[in-house]
């Protein structure tokens, strides 16, 4: 903060603005004056005017100061507001700045602010990962990504995507397990999120394993809830549905086996899937491999 005030003072002096010379100057200078004095509300008033004034609205420095002012206001007043308009204004101003700053005058400083604001969006996205606000979490995560892309910080956004969507799917699945397993809309939503992870990272063990388990358990739950009274025609229809689900689970679990992901659980999964598919030979194969693994681990 001290370093920043020093820079602002320097800028202020270089621009030749004494306190007395202030009147009649443009909104950017007035905003800068009050920013230097840490009077953020006044500073905001003048920078808001400056972006509407055609003589200053296309200057990179106008948008640079707007970012600074709105960022500081956000930190001072809205840090706990996940939908902070002040932060959003700062992010929008950064976007505008990156379009106008063709000589890269503010690049280094603006990149730091991009990363800072991005991290606040990321934190809020993670804090919103709950069944009631996960759409907001996705929105905030996308804002994080937009800013990180703008900052060209070189971070691995693909891996961040994988982590975020795995966390999201995991949260949704946990919620589904605890509430209503039979809600097919929600179940499909979970599957879709895991599928989106696999589109980015087809060898992701966690997403493959989770999808394998989801399809297997979906089938097992249907069978578990069959009424003994059910007539045989209906039973045959359910067998068709369940066989299809076991077959859907299979490629995901096979992928886990190939990746040696969570091997003990994967072998148990394959054993059970083949049992459900009435393929005794393969069921035995994985059962024996599981036994061997357990012996080895003893």
């Amino acid at each position: 903060m001290a370093k920043r005030n020093y820079i602002l003072t320097a800028l202020f002096l270089i621009s030749g603005m004494g306190f007395g010379q202030f009147i009649g100057k443009d909104g950017v200078s007035k905003a800068l004056f009050y920013l230097q004095k840490n009077e953020l509300d006044s500073s905001k008033k003048y920078i808001d005017e400056a972006i509407l004034d055609t003589s200053t609205s296309e200057l990179p420095k106008t948008w640079y100061y707007r970012v600074l002012i709105y960022k500081d206001l956000y930190k001072a007043n809205e840090k706990d507001n996940f939908d902070s308009p002040l932060r959003q204004n700062a992010a929008d101003a950064l976007n505008k700045l990156s379009q106008l700053d063709l000589t890269n005058e503010f690049t280094e400083s603006s990149q730091k602010m991009m990363v800072y604001l991005a991290s606040t969006f990321y934190n809020d996205a993670a804090r919103s990962l709950n069944p009631n606000s996960y759409n907001k979490a996705i929105e905030r995560y996308n804002k994080y990504k937009q800013l990180m892309t703008l900052a060209k910080s070189g971070g691995d956004l693909i891996q961040q995507d994988v982590k975020f969507y795995l966390a999201l799917a995991s949260m949704l699945n946990q919620n589904l397990e605890q509430t209503n397993k039979k809600d097919s809309t929600k179940l499909n939503e979970v599957k879709n999120v895991y599928e989106s992870v696999l589109k980015i990272d087809p060898n992701n063990g966690s997403a493959n394993y989770s999808l394998g388990i989801i399809y297997y358990n979906e089938s097992a739950d249907i069978i578990n809830n069959l009424d003994y009274d059910m007539d045989l025609e209906q039973l045959n229809k359910y067998q068709d549905i369940c066989t299809e689900l076991f077959l859907k689970a299979l490629p995901y679990m096979n992928k886990c086996y190939e990746l040696k992901y969570n091997l003990k659980e994967t072998l148990l999964g394959l054993n059970n899937i083949y049992h459900g598919l009435n393929d005794t030979e393969k069921e035995e194969l994985y059962k024996n491999e599981l036994k061997a693994l357990e012996l080895q681990n003893k």
């Binding site: 991290s119 990321y122 934190n123 993670a126 804090r127 990962l129 982590k163 975020f164 795995l166 966390a167 799917a169 995991s170 949260m171 699945n173 946990q174 966690s206 394993y209 989770s210 388990i213 297997y216 358990n217 089938s219 097992a220 739950d221 069978i223 578990n224 069959l226 009424d227 003994y228 009274d229 059910m230 007539d231 045989l232 025609e233 039973l235 045959n236 067998q239 068709d240 369940c242 066989t243 076991f246 077959l247 969570n262 659980e265 148990l268 999964g269 059970n272 049992h275 459900g276 598919l277 009435n278 393929d279």
Partner: protein, 173 residues
């Protein structure tokens, strides 16, 4: 950023808690639904309509536990369901149904001798056993449980087979 990573890690821990549902043997549950249906499509002589309805069982399979579970809630007509496990084919006593698991398939001839004077439905689960004396034999077709019906093998024990059951069988002999 570190704080967030820890939050995400928490989710991964939750994720790793996903477990396959091992509380149910899917095949056993499906077979038990079949077996309960068989009791509705087959008629036993009058003398067998009193007392408990007994399902005898030989061999090692989780189907036994599933049948016990079924017996807790279901009846056959007015008869209480009773599931009895016999140590081997020689110890089999009078029962309405005898289920011979795959590991005891080679004891089928002994089973048949034991039940020949009774009205017992013999159910097996190995290819070819419908031709060797079994009344109903479970088979696998396209990864699904189906059954073969050998009507002659059922009727020789004075049991009546509903035509509906014939239409539901994969093959009728």
């Amino acid at each position: 950023m570190k704080k967030i990573l820890s939050i995400l890690i928490c989710f991964f821990i939750l994720n790793s808690s996903f477990r396959i549902n091992t509380t149910i043997d899917t095949n056993a549950k499906i077979k038990s639904v079949f077996i309960y249906n068989f009791t509705k499509y087959i008629e036993w002589p009058q003398a067998y309509k009193e007392g408990n309805f007994i399902i005898g069982f030989i061999g090692e399979s989780s189907l036994y536990s599933e049948l016990l579970k079924m017996a807790e809630t279901k009846k056959v007509g007015n008869q209480t369901l009773d599931v009895i496990r016999f140590q081997n084919s020689t110890t089999i006593s009078k029962c309405h149904v005898i289920y011979v698991c795959k590991d005891k398939s080679d004891e089928l001839s002994t089973v048949l001798k034991k039940v020949k004077s009774n009205s017992t439905l013999v159910i097996t689960e190995e290819n070819g056993l419908a031709d060797k004396g079994s009344g109903i034999n479970f088979i696998i077709k396209e990864n699904k449980q189906k059954f073969e019906l050998n009507k002659g093998n059922v009727e020789k024990y004075k049991l009546k087979v509903s035509s509906n059951l014939e239409s539901l069988a994969f093959t009728v002999k």
